[in-house]
């Protein structure tokens, strides 16, 4: 199948190094301490953060740092065909773990000893790149909750189809079976916190694909920063300082 037309356009009309449209809103869940909705094109994810709060299960308490927990779910209506998946299937457990590890790496857990932070992410619409969208949504929600972080961790995916590196794969491109690299990135520290890849790639191509994904992460970080600035300005203005 042809994923990049001779004119250099992809199936949804994007250029190979073009990202889908981003949209983010803070404060979607009123009862949560922090929440956000993050959209990448047709992929839509909602995240809610509770905490830092008292540890529910005393056996899990850590004396010198906070306990971070994460739960990833996919709404039944999120995919094209409505499927009822059992809770806690392999895929969602794996993604929960990935998100938890990524967020734990950037949260300054040592500042909140003997407490617990819960992150809940749910996919409302799935169109490829849910993993990245979840991480971005969780970052925004954590920032909204006022939880100290080393940096805004962002994530983006990139692939390699028709011998062209493609940024931010959608569902059709994702299910083509080509290589799919998901990167989690700390833009200020210039560090990679997450790297996952399906299938194989040669070393030099991998480097260019990963570089592309990192560029995507940086663009997302800029956007998220802008959204947070806007939100803080508004709060500040309302309070009348």
């Amino acid at each position: 199948m042809e994923f990049v037309s001779p004119e250099g356009l992809r199936l949804d009309g994007r250029r190979p190094t073009e990202m889908r449209q981003l949209r983010a809103a803070i404060g979607a869940v009123s009862k949560a301490d922090g929440s956000a909705v993050f959209e990448m094109g047709n992929t839509k994810v909602i995240a809610a953060v509770y905490g830092p709060r008292e540890v529910e299960n005393k056996a899990e308490l850590i004396n010198d740092q906070a306990l971070v927990r994460c739960e990833y779910t996919m709404a039944n209506f999120s995919t094209g065909d409505r499927v009822r998946k059992p809770k806690g299937d392999r895929r969602s457990t794996e993604i929960s773990l990935v998100i938890r590890q990524t967020m734990e790496a950037c949260i300054m857990t040592h500042l909140m000893p003997r407490s617990q932070i819960d992150i809940f992410v749910q996919v409302l619409q799935a169109d490829g790149g849910t993993r990245s969208a979840c991480i971005n949504a969780a970052t925004l929600a954590l920032a909204d909750a006022g939880i100290p972080m080393r940096d805004l961790v962002t994530s983006c995916s990139a692939g390699y189809l028709n011998s062209t590196p493609l940024l931010d794969l959608n569902y059709v491109e994702d299910s083509a079976g080509g290589p799919d690299v998901t990167v989690g990135f700390l833009p200020k520290l210039d560090k990679v916190t997450l790297l996952q890849m399906d299938s194989k790639l040669s070393m030099d191509i991998f480097q260019s694909v990963m570089q592309l994904a990192i560029e995507g992460c940086k663009a997302i970080a800029n956007y998220i920063r802008e959204v947070l600035h806007e939100n803080t300005k508004q709060l500040e203005y309302r309070r009348g300082v």
């Binding site: 301490d33 709060r53 972080m149 803080t232 709060l235 500040e236 309070r239 009348g240």
Partner: protein
């Protein structure tokens, strides 16, 4: 703006700034704060209070009896973040006959006065530093002292029973007018929290009066129309304040 929860880079090391907690959802305890909490666990010698912070606070048992909403002062902050409270003075204690509201803690400023006895409405209003706000019936201080004395004279295991008997002897209802006032003030606080304005006693009373003068019903106070009115009022106040400065 440093209020974003993003650390600021100082040279090569990372540090975090005070502004970090400016819009933090959770309460950051400081010694001497007056807070309102909810009892979540009752042990032999101490109570555990949920206070909208990183951890639950510990209140060593004093002259209060039954678990409910409670008000106390932060006594000391232990190194591991455990919080100890005390409610020694008789102005602290159990709260009843009213409602507990929770607002973002950054909207409540630390002030000298956190208890407000609004005698004209028969309402007791407590703005806890942790973002919990209590609006309840104003019980005469004398009554409370009596309650305390009775409880102290009773044996520990008799406490609950003595409380029950007290409840029976006291008139256990709140007049309708007071209840209306409680709801009206509670809704004023809710409106402020929805709009994200600082919550102070002056503004609450202003909104209270505004709702009465415009004859807005209690249940209509949270509607968009009244919110707009409150926002307009606030805008007027601010423009006045800047004019005075200029």
């Amino acid at each position: 703006m440093s209020a974003l929860c993003v650390p600021v880079v100082f040279g090569r090391t990372f540090d975090y700034v005070d502004g970090l907690h400016l819009f933090c959802a959770r309460y950051k305890p400081e010694t001497g704060d007056i807070i309102v909490g909810r009892v979540v666990e009752v042990a032999q010698k101490r109570w555990r209070l949920e206070i909208n912070s990183n951890q639950d606070a510990v209140l060593m048992l004093s002259s209060v009896t039954l678990p409910d909403g409670i008000q106390a002062e932060v006594r000391n902050l232990q190194h591991d973040g455990t919080l100890q409270l005390h409610a020694r003075s008789d102005k602290y204690g159990k709260l009843e006959r009213g409602q507990l509201l929770s607002v973002p803690s950054y909207l409540v400023k630390r002030r000298k006065q956190h208890f407000h006895q609004l005698d004209q409405y028969g309402v007791l209003l407590i703005l806890g530093c942790n973002g919990y706000v209590w609006v309840g019936e104003l019980v005469e201080a004398k009554d409370r002292m009596e309650v305390d004395q009775v409880n102290l004279s009773e044996e520990a295991h008799m406490k609950s029973r003595s409380y029950m008997s007290l409840e029976e002897t006291e008139p256990d209802y709140t007049p309708l007018e007071t209840r209306r006032n409680i709801c009206r003030i509670a809704n004023a606080v809710r409106v402020l929290s929805i709009l994200g304005f600082n919550i102070t006693i002056e503004v609450i009373l202003e909104i209270f009066e505004l709702s009465i003068s415009e004859s807005v019903d209690v249940h209509d106070m949270l509607g968009a129309e009244f919110c707009v009115r409150v926002a307009e009022k606030e805008a007027d106040r601010r423009s006045m304040a800047t004019k005075r400065k200029g």
